[in-house]
């Protein structure tokens, strides 16, 4: 690795902690961000010559703080400033910062920073954009590219999000245990959204958007290091790892979606799978079940099956049943029906999804699954209607292409049995 990319990795890894501490200090996202930028510029000048400091985050916090303090004074912002002697002497910057910022403090700092980005008042798209800008340090242009919008539109989205967060007034005191667990849940949900932004991208967009999956996993691991005994955070990390492990197998040469059952399992990343399995194992030991644990357990059963026919559909059916009780939703029932079709046949599965028709009428996967069940029952005409409806609702060209393949199979005399998750 070259000097610069090595320093880049250090800056990236220190960013969340440093910006979080600067936010607590200045209580303003823009100032915290600018302070960090300034510290990075100085790091790029000083580190190649002097070598990196042992605690990069502490160095960046101290240098950023000093750099921003004049700006803050000029702007006469309210809020407590540190005593002069604490900030004027940079020589012992690391040691003094390390003494003052203990583990628990910076843990809550980072959680607060992440929570600010996924504040309940922000719509999902703003949450993710803000997190990528503030926590991950992506440029507005990079984020705009990932979301397929113009730079200006993304700039506006981020500015609006920042203004809303500033008004929301997230408290800076150490959170209570209840607040902390609520913040963790909100942050977990945001990280899952971020991951899905990357995951639902088609093959052609894989470059810019697949990176979102890596970033979501990196932030999950960071969160897990801060809260090592939270089974739901272990499970979310596990879930993302197990899904991401399949990424190389999910598209064929033409960019069409390859169904889970038809994927070349040799292409699954065994290292990510091993980590995912280890984490869900750890989570379950806590005996505090939750929705991410159930979803990770389902993903684990798929990952453990060497061949599609080795999949434990009975257990997956039961797990979706558990998820239905924890988080009732027509989409969960739809997924359960796919498993039920394997265990109890397509007729039972069709009966399960009939009541969902009103709620899921505009949902691509509903019509795709319905078509597949009908196809298996030999009800070709009805299957054709369902598949045509699915194509009309497809979110990506890849999804539409996949359904078209099913329609092609319909045209053939002996239809290939085809069911299962498209993802």
């Amino acid at each position: 690795m070259s000097d610069v990319s090595w320093i880049d990795a250090v800056l990236t890894s220190a960013r969340a902690q440093a910006v979080a501490a600067l936010l607590r200090y200045f209580r303003d996202l823009d100032i915290a961000e600018e302070a960090f930028q300034e510290a990075c510029l100085r790091a790029l000048k000083s580190w190649p010559k002097n070598g990196p400091p042992r605690d990069a985050a502490a160095w960046l916090i101290m240098v950023g703080k000093n750099a921003a303090i004049d700006t803050v004074r000029r702007q006469r912002r309210e809020g407590p400033l540190p005593q002069e002697e604490l900030i004027s002497d940079l020589s012992d910057a690391e040691a003094s910062t390390v003494e003052r910022i203990d583990e628990a403090d910076y843990r809550d700092d980072i959680l607060r920073l992440l929570f600010v980005c996924c504040h309940p008042e922000l719509p999902a798209t703003q949450q993710i954009a803000l997190a990528l800008r503030i926590v991950s340090g992506l440029s507005t242009r990079q984020i705009a590219r990932a979301f397929l919008v113009s730079d200006d539109a993304m700039e506006q989205r981020i500015t609006r999000a920042k203004a809303r967060v500033a008004k929301a007034n997230v408290p800076f005191e150490a959170p209570s245990a209840v607040d902390r667990s609520e913040r963790l849940a909100a942050v977990a949900a945001m990280l899952y959204l971020l991951f899905n932004e990357g995951y639902t991208a088609g093959a052609s967009e894989q470059g810019s958007r697949a990176a979102l999956c890596d970033e979501a996993i990196r932030l999950c691991r960071l969160l897990l290091r801060l809260f090592p005994a939270e089974p739901e955070i272990m499970a979310l990390t596990s879930l993302l790892l197990l899904q991401h492990a399949r990424s190389r197998a999910r598209f064929d040469m033409d960019g069409s979606v390859v169904l889970l059952e038809e994927q070349d399992r040799q292409l699954w990343d065994q290292k990510l799978i091993a980590e995912g399995l280890a984490l869900i194992d750890k989570a379950v030991r806590h005996r505090r079940p939750g929705p991410y644990q159930v979803q990770a357990a389902i993903a684990a059963l798929h990952a453990r099956a060497q061949r599609p026919q080795d999949t434990d559909w009975g257990e997956i059916d039961l797990l979706y049943g558990a998820l239905e009780r924890m988080q009732p939703s027509p989409v969960v029932t739809l997924n359960r029906a796919v498993a039920a079709a394997k265990v109890r046949g397509p007729e039972a599965a069709l009966a399960m999804i009939e009541p969902l028709a009103a709620k899921l009428n505009g949902y691509f996967y509903f019509h795709g699954a319905k078509g597949a069940f009908l196809l298996e029952l030999g009800r070709s005409e009805e299957a054709r209607v369902a598949f045509n409806r699915a194509i009309a609702l497809a979110n990506t060209p890849a999804e539409a292409a996949h359904i078209r393949q099913q329609l092609d199979r319909l045209a053939r005399p002996s239809p290939h049995k085809n069911l299962g998750h498209t993802r």
Partner: protein, 123 residues
């Protein structure tokens, strides 16, 4: 004499590497490994999964206590280790320097091995 070379690095930094950067480091290391293997000096090589996947059994009490995470909360974490067979500490240090050139950052701790049981588990 057999030595363990314990590999320490700041895990936050290593997990900020892109897949391409990680692959590049592993490819450079592989070249060093091949050379050592040809010389008959290379024993088992282990890269550990992230410490988030770790569990610790504190056995200083009865019953022992199971804790999530690695044993030591430090700036750098134990991320893997090598076993090498060398005639002298100087030789191990030379190997460690070659590995370091392929994978800068962090530290290698060199520990002479007392008992080495290759075991029977498959790699």
């Amino acid at each position: 004499m057999q030595y363990a070379i314990l590999c320490y690095h700041d895990e936050n930094v290593v997990s900020a590497w892109s897949k391409e950067e990680d692959d590049a480091v592993m490819a450079k290391l592989a070249r060093v490994h091949e050379k050592l293997a040809r010389q008959g000096k290379l024993g088992p090589v282990v890269r550990l999964l992230p410490t988030t996947a770790a569990t610790t059994l504190r056995k200083d009490r009865e019953p022992p206590l199971v804790i999530d995470g690695p044993f030591a909360e430090t700036k750098e974490q134990l991320l893997g280790f090598y076993v090498v067979d060398c005639a002298s500490l100087e030789e191990v240090l030379q190997i460690a320097r070659e590995l370091a050139a392929a994978n800068p950052g962090g530290a290698y701790e060199i520990r002479p091995i007392g008992v080495f049981n290759p075991g029977s588990a498959r790699a």
